[in-house]
Every structure is written in C-alpha cells, then in structure tokens.
Symmetry: C2
Subunit: 353 residues, 2 copies
C-alpha cells in the first residue's frame, strides 16, 4: 500500500498532522533537539523524509526570527566586473573570510545588469540581508539612497563617507601625497597623473588641469587632491574609462606621446592603481622608454616590482565584514582608517639630467 501522492505543498504543518503532534514539536525537532525525546524526533524526521518535506522554509524562518544570516555587497558596476579587478577580488576574498567567520553567506548585488543598464534599486530593496557593504560608489548614487532606505546596517568601502555609516579605507589623500613626494624628492619636475574614472559615466579622456572637475568617487577625488598637493594643479591628468591595464597603457600613451602642444614629456607618472601602472609600463616599453631611466612610475595598492602605495584590500574586506556584523548586533567598532605605506621599488629613480 504505497502512500498516495499528495499534490499539495508539504509544510511543517503537514508533517505535524501526519505524525499526529503539534507544529511546535516539529519545529523543535529541527531547532531544539533537546526539547523532545530522541525517539519522537527520529519519527518526525523519518516522516518528514517520507513526505518529502524540505525542512523549515528559510524565508518564513527569517520572517519569524528577524535575522537573514547573510550580508550583501553592493557594487556599482556589472557584477562580472568584480571578477576582473584584482583589487576587487582581494577585497572580496577578505570580505568572504569575514563573512564565513560569522557563518553567514555573501550576496552580490550589482547596480548594472548584464547589458549595462541601471536597475539595481529593486535588487537592493529586495535583498534579504542583515546588512550591506558598499564598494566604492560615487557620491549620491541612486543605489546609495536605496541602501540607506533599507534601514539596515551599512558599511562603505572606499567611498563615499556617509554620516553615521562606518567607513573602511585609507587616507587616500595622504597616501597619494606620499607617492608624489617620492618622485618629486627624486628630482622629477614634470609629473603627470593617470586617474581613475571621475564618475560613473565612463570615458577615457584628458582632463584640462585648469578645469578638471570634481570626481564623484571619493577615492579618485582624494588621490587626485593628494597628487596635486605636491605636484601642483597644472599637472596633466588623463582619466581612464576602466581600471585595467589596457586603459593604463592608453592613458600613458596619450600623456607621453601627447599632441605637439605639450611642452615636454613628463618624466614621472602617478597611477591610481597598480593595474594602471602596469599599463603605463606597457606604454613605456612600446615607446622605447627606459623605466626608471626615462620614466618613473608609481602605482597604488602594493603590487610587487613596482614603486607603489601598499595597502591591504584583503584586510579591509575582512574589516568590512567585521564592522558590518558588529553593527548588525548593535555594536559599533572603532572607526580608524586602515594602514598604508609607500614602498619605493624598481619603477622609480631620479630623472635623467
């Protein structure tokens, strides 16, 4: 006599009815084994299996208990991009570690869909998470509003800095200043800048130093300001469309091979990331420029084989998870900035006389 198939959905109640106990007991069988006899528990679990009961529904449980057991990472690009940027990957690795430490899972939420169309607001509004980490969004990005409206704990990484929202990152301006001081200290007088995108509308272009505009990304803004604190406001600036090696090369080519009107070629380039710096190196090679003989290059993030600003994005990822989780529990954490250090390397030297 096979049990006749029940087409309706099997819930905890179904199991309760079948076993002949109350729903609460079934719930206890799953959540508090010590609250019932081992024998009954066995019987319940067996029946559940027979019935094809999938276990307590996570959404219902979450509604009842109030915690999702998951945090989200908000990302201003297409989701896929997160897997293309080494910096983002290092950060995610750290975030993942921190998340795992809390036995939570990590949800990835992207602002742009696969076709590059905006649309993350719904995703943000519907994400079932206990808190959100924001990965470098431009000031007043719509997603930010959506995120704040959720009324759940937030942490921003890189930017923007929001009132009452823990921030993780370094003092980018000071770090950029150190990078610039390094090359100026070596004797360089013609220094140019390879900058991150200023805003979400990505476009490779040279900025008029006289009217560079205000970058909407905090990181871009601070690093730019730091460089200029040292090299002056008339230093050439090339903005890239994307933080990758190819764009670094392109920007460097523009800066180095530049149109005739530029007085003389820069002897040093300050890049806002190591990726970009590697692109600069590619360009130098193509132009037959010796590094550091003809051109000094400073990167940012800590890649080996480069003069660069060392920071640990990995560590910062962990920190984000930690602070967010603390906030989830209603605790707050010290809001110190993360550490950085300038590390001179083989890509910088004195300019040729």
């Amino acid at each position: 006599m096979a049990p006749e198939p029940k087409p309706e959905k099997v819930t905890l109640k179904t199991v309760a009815r079948t076993v002949g106990v109350s729903p609460a007991t079934i719930s206890n069988a799953y959540n508090r084994p010590e609250k019932l006899s081992a024998a009954l528990r066995e019987r319940i679990l067996a029946t559940a299996r027979e019935l094809g009961y999938a276990g307590p529904d996570p959404a219902a449980r979450r509604l009842r208990r109030g915690r999702a057991g998951s945090i989200g990472l908000l990302f201003g690009e297409q989701l896929a991009y997160v897997f293309e940027d080494p910096g983002a990957i290092a950060f995610l690795r750290g975030l993942a570690e921190g998340t795992a430490r809390l036995n939570a899972s990590l949800q990835l939420i992207a602002a742009l869909d696969a076709d590059g169309a905006e649309g993350g607001e719904d995703l943000v509004a519907n994400a079932i998470v206990d808190g959100l980490v924001v990965w470098s969004l431009p000031d007043r990005h719509p997603l930010l509003r959506a995120a704040r409206e959720r009324g759940i704990p937030l942490v921003t990484h890189g930017g923007p800095r929001l009132d009452g929202v823990p921030f993780v990152g370094i003092d980018d301006r000071a770090a950029a200043r150190a990078a610039a001081e390094h090359v100026v200290g070596l004797g360089h007088r013609r220094v140019a800048i390879v900058a991150f995108p200023f805003g979400p509308r990505r476009e490779a272009r040279e900025r008029d130093p006289a009217r560079p505009g205000r970058p909407a990304y905090r990181v871009t803004r601070e690093r730019l300001a730091g460089y200029r604190d040292v090299v002056g406001a008339k230093a050439p600036v090339a903005e890239v469309a994307v933080n990758d090696r190819a764009e670094g090369r392109r920007a460097a080519l523009a800066l180095l091979a530049g149109e005739g009107r530029r007085r003389r070629r820069p002897t040093a380039l300050l890049a806002m990331s190591d990726e970009l710096a590697f692109g600069v190196l590619d360009a130098a090679r193509e132009l037959g420029l010796d590094v550091p003989g003809d051109l000094s290059v400073v990167g940012f993030d800590g890649a080996p084989a480069l003069s660069t600003v060392v920071q640990s994005l990995h560590e910062q990822g962990r920190l984000c998870a930690q602070r967010l989780i603390a906030a989830t529990h209603g605790r707050s954490t010290p809001g110190d900035l993360a550490a950085w250090a300038l590390r001179p390397g083989p890509s910088t030297g004195p300019p040729r006389p």
Copy 2:
C-alpha cells in the same frame, strides 16, 4: 510641533494607520502604482519617508510571493578560494552575467568556514534562494544531500552527475583522451599525469598506478580515465593538494626529479588544468629542461601559450544560470554537454630521440 518619536518598529501597517488608509493601499503604492491615484500615492510615500518606513520587508514579501529573486552558488571549499582560482573566477563571471540577466542576485555559499571547518549545511538549509548551482563537489558530499533536501532546482557544474539534476560541463574523458593522444601522436612513450585532488581530503602525493583509488570528484575521475585510456594504466600519477601553480610545480618536480627507482624521466606531462601546467613549466625551468625539447606539457582550460584543452568556463557559468532559471520557472533545457577542443601550442613537440 515635531512628530513625536515612535520607538516601535515601523511597518506597512503603521503607515496605513498614519495615512488613514488600509494596508492594501500602502502595498499597492509600492507595487502597483496604477492602482491608486497619483496624489494618494505621493501622500503615502511622503508619510512613509517621514515615518522612516524602510519599504516592504523583503522576507515577508518573499514569504507571501514565493520567489526569492536570488540564486546560490554552492562551493566545496572556503569561500575565499573562489577568488583565487582563475577557472572559478571565469565561471563566476559567467554565472553573474546570467544571473544579472534575470535581475536576480547571486549568493555565495561555502562548505568550509574561514578556519576550514565544515559547516555549510546550515548555510544551505537557511539560504533564501530560488535555486542552487553546485560547483564541483565530490560524489556524496554532505552538502549535496543538504542541497537536494531543499527541494529547489539544482544544477551541478563539473560534477557529480545526479539523477534528475541538470548538469553543465564537458565530456572530460574524451577531452583528456584527446590531450593524451596529442602527445602520444607526437611520439611520446613516457607520459605522466599531474592530477587534481582525488577527494576533499587534500594532500599532495604520488599515486601508486597499480592502486590509484577512485577519485571522488567526477572531473578528476573522468580526466584521469581519459588520460589512461591512451597512455595506459601504469603511467605515473602525482596528485596535487590544491589546483594552483605552486602545487603544479611541486608535483612536476616529484615526477621529473623523482626517486632513483623510476626507470626514466617522463618526456611529457599531462596536467588537469592550465594552472598546474604553468607550475610544470616552472619546474622544467628550474631543472633546466627545455620545453618542448626535453618535456612536452599539455594543460587544460584554454590558456594561451600552452598546448591545452580549450573550454569556456565563462560560457558554462552563463549556461548554469540559464538552466537554473529555466528550472525555477518549471521549464527544462536541453542537456547537451558544452564544447571543448584540443589546441596544440608551443608547449608540446616530438620527444628528443
């Protein structure tokens, strides 16, 4: 007269009461603007803002509606590892694209916590997702049971192949066979294998060809079988602990520099991934072996500059998302295996006479 602070939680009901309409109308304001007058809607939204209402609670909504708008990726390692393996990254990138296309978000669920302790079962049981993609788990891994018990759509990638569960991957055995035939066709007779871990208990070791054991990972098993179909069952096999370059080097060193009792050095090495193959190249360099003069190397996955089996993990990631999403909607998709091709490259050549 400032509105007095309400310490209790603001819900849709609170807003309804404040505005003086029914909860249904508030719900409509958020979900079906066309169902009420623009004026009323405005008033509702404004009041909600004043009250600090965060919008409809996603968990409650999900409970009511039945869809989570999110899919999960199940991962048998520590979460961080996903960001270290280029193959995994390519796959994730594809998966992310596919997910975005559905306007869903992606949840990452790891079997091992940050300390390497097992514990993903709870995460699987509690994940609020519409479906799960399994990234290469060993046969009968506990997480697999947990995943199946959820009773939501599943797709496995790489393995294992489960009854009634869509599978995405290639014919690894045939592909491995092609790789082996390539070197044998070039004249190699002493061929050794650099193999993925056989099971979740990771340990670098040489396998006794006579009693190699049965790999618990389908991919390992199939590729191994494919290689052996061609080079014979007595070919030396070195198992790595982790799929990375350093381990590839280590395994190659063991195989090439091997203890005195081995008759003669292999002239060709078959590696189960490009990462491992690059490690083999490192080892060859250290031993002063010319590639392909002294040693031929075949990788797996399609890296340039290598003789390798080309496949698109990226494409397979997209496919997983697509199939899972189809399953979520109750549709099924054709279950063809993905494409692969052997691409001879500069890392293989005829053996020196």
